[in-house]
Symmetry: C2
């Protein structure tokens, strides 16, 4: 499919047949299943083991892809925390409905009991946004956004851009991972991390440093019982979900790694996927939205064949 | 607070102090907590027991407000199903991450085993949208929407309107309840109902009849273990969450009813609440979004005092 046809697909909010009227045989645009079935190996990428962490729970593994292009210092610090085993044996302390789950040290406020940090940093300056770099791949969505001038995907992550202020930043979609903080902007650093489990809390954009995205295992986080204390914190220690261990994938023996591929977001295939979700061709649909919101675009993941 | 000031608050995406510069003492707009603390009794409404149903699970009650103004026939049919005890002893069959939970008859496809319907209807014509009625209260949001020309709230429900086609319809925000159907538009009717538990699946708008909204107990639904079969259906019967009983609140002894009040959505107080969420004044926030998306506006509920 040529670049021009893809662009037409994306700009159109009418059924594609009417836009592509010059085609000899007008045909429907493909469904997502069809897009994926005809994808090429080069449409997929392996996760970089040096920027992937495994969060091991008693009932399974959560795979998180880190975002060094957007939060280089936080990512480096989280890897340092992981490698000094800071998180091992800690727990999920908070599960707030339609918002976030959060893990960290239950004794963080107790000077004599709290987990010691060896070489990593306890806090860091914020990385709420970064300079807009037009060399970073960016697949822009055509339908606008309530919160930002431009939105789209960069290297598998939901991103907003503002050409006026020349800034770009990660967006709080479902599954995004951020560094909790207190009131001062520089009070976070990665020792407490949260994951979005509900409607995208876009008011958090540029207020917290986002550090990555869950690519597998979200259901283990989103189905945790909700905490009943303020902000979804658990009342009792036994309600918390323990963390067995967190590891950088590169430190895990190759045969124990999750063999996952993620669909690239800088390809005609991904553009076709976006179109397949803007106008749903599956037989069940009677009304086609014609538009799509950033956080409704799926980023497919599969086991490496 | 005058209507004009409210309008200014809503139209502004700048801090309010600069817009209301003529004020003798420029002051910050209130936080949501402050808006609620100063609300009057008339800002709240009791649920109508005739249009409220209680879904009783083994671990608690889910309270659903029905939407007769938008789906009169489905609401009447669901109440008829409830009153003939159609749902009692059925179960949640499906829990799909970041999407929906769904309940119904596990044996619906087995002619000899399926639950009998006595007086209610098995299926109904769809109520995907309705004629735009400008007499229905409508608090319009000022920041636009990716999917619809106008969005806002009507009687506590998220609503989209299209002045061109003169239609209005309910929107798939978190907690909305809809009538599952097969491919034909008239194959639903209320025997299978689903609840949104993730990012608002707006592509479903106008494709399914929405019938109401969960006003209390969402956390009991959203934290159900996810099903591992296709579309989040459970593989094994024992994984399902059983439904003890569903009742119309009006049929429940008064002393057993949930004494809930919902914030009205057609008042200056609700407008102030919207503004408090567009520009977060809590000390934690360093960047104010200036805008809000329909499904990010909370609709407060409280125990009747």
């Amino acid at each position: 499919m040529s670049a021009r046809k893809i662009r037409l697909l994306l700009l159109s909010i009418l059924p594609v047949v009417s836009v592509l009227g010059a085609e000899p045989t007008p045909k429907k645009s493909p469904t997502m299943a069809e897009v994926l079935a005809t994808s090429k190996p080069a449409d997929w990428r392996m996760l970089d083991p040096e920027n992937t962490i495994y969060l091991e729970l008693t009932n399974g593994r959560v795979v998180i892809e880190l975002a060094p292009a957007f939060a280089a210092n936080h990512v480096a610090n989280i890897k340092a925390l992981v490698r000094e085993h800071y998180f091992d044996g800690l727990a999920f302390l908070r599960s707030q409905d339609n918002y976030v789950v959060q893990w960290g040290d239950p004794d963080a406020e107790k000077p004599d009991k709290k987990r010691k940090i060896l070489v990593a940093k306890a806090t860091l300056p914020p990385e709420f946004d970064r300079a807009l770099d037009s060399k970073l791949p960016f697949t822009r969505l055509p339908d606008g956004d309530v919160y930002a001038r431009e939105v789209g995907f960069s290297e598998g992550l939901p991103v907003a851009r503002d050409p006026k202020s020349k800034k770009m930043w990660l967006v709080h979609c479902y599954g995004m991972v951020g560094a909790g903080r207190d009131n001062p902007p520089d009070s976070g650093g990665g020792t407490e991390l949260y994951v979005v489990i509900g409607q995208a809390p876009r008011h958090l954009d540029r207020n917290v440093t986002l550090v990555g995205r869950v690519v597998q295992g979200m259901e283990l986080l989103s189905s945790m019982p909700r905490g009943t204390a303020a902000m979804g914190f658990y009342d009792k220690p036994e309600q918390r979900t323990p963390i067995k261990v967190i590891r950088v994938a590169a430190d895990v023996p190759v045969e124990e790694r999750s063999k996952l591929e993620v669909l690239r977001t800088d390809t005609p295939t991904f553009q076709a996927l976006i179109e397949s979700r803007r106008n749903r061709r599956e037989e069940w649909f009677h009304f086609q939205a014609g538009n799509i919101e950033l956080c409704n675009v799926p980023i497919p993941v599969r086991e490496k064949r």
